[in-house]
Symmetry: C2
DNA sequence: TCCGCGGCGAGACTTAGGTCGCAGACCCCC
DNA sequence: GGGGGTCTGCGACCTAAGTCTCGCCGCGGA
């Protein structure tokens, strides 16, 4: 593992070489296949993780098996930092959406690093602040917005400029995946697509969503 | 202001007298009447606050005026700490539920204190971890539980042992207040009460909820 | 080539929850 | 003691969203 790679992690950006070196010795590697479960909610927390490649979904499960995705962690993202500071169990489940490579740092190790290097603590605080904003927005969305509006919002977040002025989706989710991100049933996603198509916001090109107009999508919020 | 009072704030618990002294000079006082708005979402953040007495509700507003309460801060609770670390605007609205007295610390002052005293940073990290858990549970509840179940949960949280083996509510909310905590319409609260009454979990003693059995309530989750 | 399986489209139906309207109870304040 | 504002209790109604059940398509493996 190269020290420059550590720099790509937001928490460690501002640290000098000596500290990075110390951290490096504490990092272990994990490789997972598509669909593998990394840990489950409620069990004692072992470590926090950083995604190097691939994608990991962080989600809650209802007693009857429904899934609510809290977020999808991609390269550079961290997850399971919370138990470092309150010694509690894992707050949610983690499972790969596609094959992934991760770095892990054990809870106690990370805790010690934070205590010894205040700069890391500030980094964590910034990151936590962002997450808190994110979750309050999520609560707001669930309680105020209709399913179609939540889907429109998700599509906006997934929209990406394809080289030449057009729009495409960063990745192709299945409808089931979108449903559990947005907190609804699979069938609703299809209906939301049709509603958005009627408004001229998207186009359905045989099983593929094409974003026609960002503005029209934004009007649906 | 007495230095012991500062100790009652979780963030400052582990600090020594010298540091507490420094903090004391930065604290300002605020007194608010019932129903007064302290700040609104989106405007530049001035300060973080600690509740000394009274209650402040932290909430989001929908475009059409519906209210979603994120939490109700009582004595000892802090709010609006997020903007300290990301320089962003206020993440929500704050308004008193009843007359309240607060301490405030300006954003930049608090930021400097945290940077100079790593112990405070750790305190904030613990508190943020707790809040993150709280909000993920809130998301979970909104997406998995029915209104009745959310109401039952709220009542359980509000339940308090009255000296002699019985149960009472910590405070009397109006149905409207409960509705915006739980994320629903006022009428639904009444219906949920009736459902819970039929299950023998509560009793409605003319406009007053009496908890009959904690176990029966828990069964409704 | 054919089969099986995961993902999708679509219609019919059910249901939880939101909306509306109004009336009675209560409470404070004048 | 009267009167307006707030809170509650319904009932009727409406609608968004969840559920169930198909049949189809497309793709990959045997």
């Amino acid at each position: 593992m190269l020290p420059e790679q550590l720099k790509s992690i937001a928490y460690f950006q501002d640290l000098d070489a000596r500290v990075l070196d110390r951290i490096r010795t504490r990092v272990f590697e994990v490789r997972l296949q598509k669909g593998q479960v990394l840990f489950t909610e409620g069990e004692p927390a072992q470590a926090m993780y950083v995604v190097r490649s691939g994608q990991v979904k962080i989600f809650k499960l209802s007693p009857d098996g429904r899934e609510q995705v809290l977020r999808i962690a991609g390269p550079g993202d961290c997850f399971n930092e919370v138990p470092i500071f309150d010694e509690g169990p894992n707050p949610a489940n983690a499972q790969t959406v596609e094959a992934a490579a991760l770095w892990g740092i054990r809870r106690a190790d990370m805790r010690r690093l934070v205590e010894e290097h205040p700069a890391i603590a500030i980094g964590f605080l910034k990151a936590f602040a962002g997450k808190l904003r994110y979750f309050t927005r999520k609560v707001e969305d669930l309680s105020f917005r209709s399913v179609t509006s939540r889907v429109a919002k998700l599509l906006l977040e997934m929209a990406e400029d394809d080289g030449k002025g057009g729009l495409r989706l960063k990745q192709q989710f299945t409808q089931q995946e979108m449903a559990s991100v947005v907190g609804t049933a699979r069938e609703m996603i299809g209906r939301a697509f049709k509603a958005l198509e009627k408004e001229g916001a998207i186009r359905l090109d045989r099983h593929r969503v094409v974003i026609v107009s960002r503005a029209a999508l934004a009007r649906m919020l």
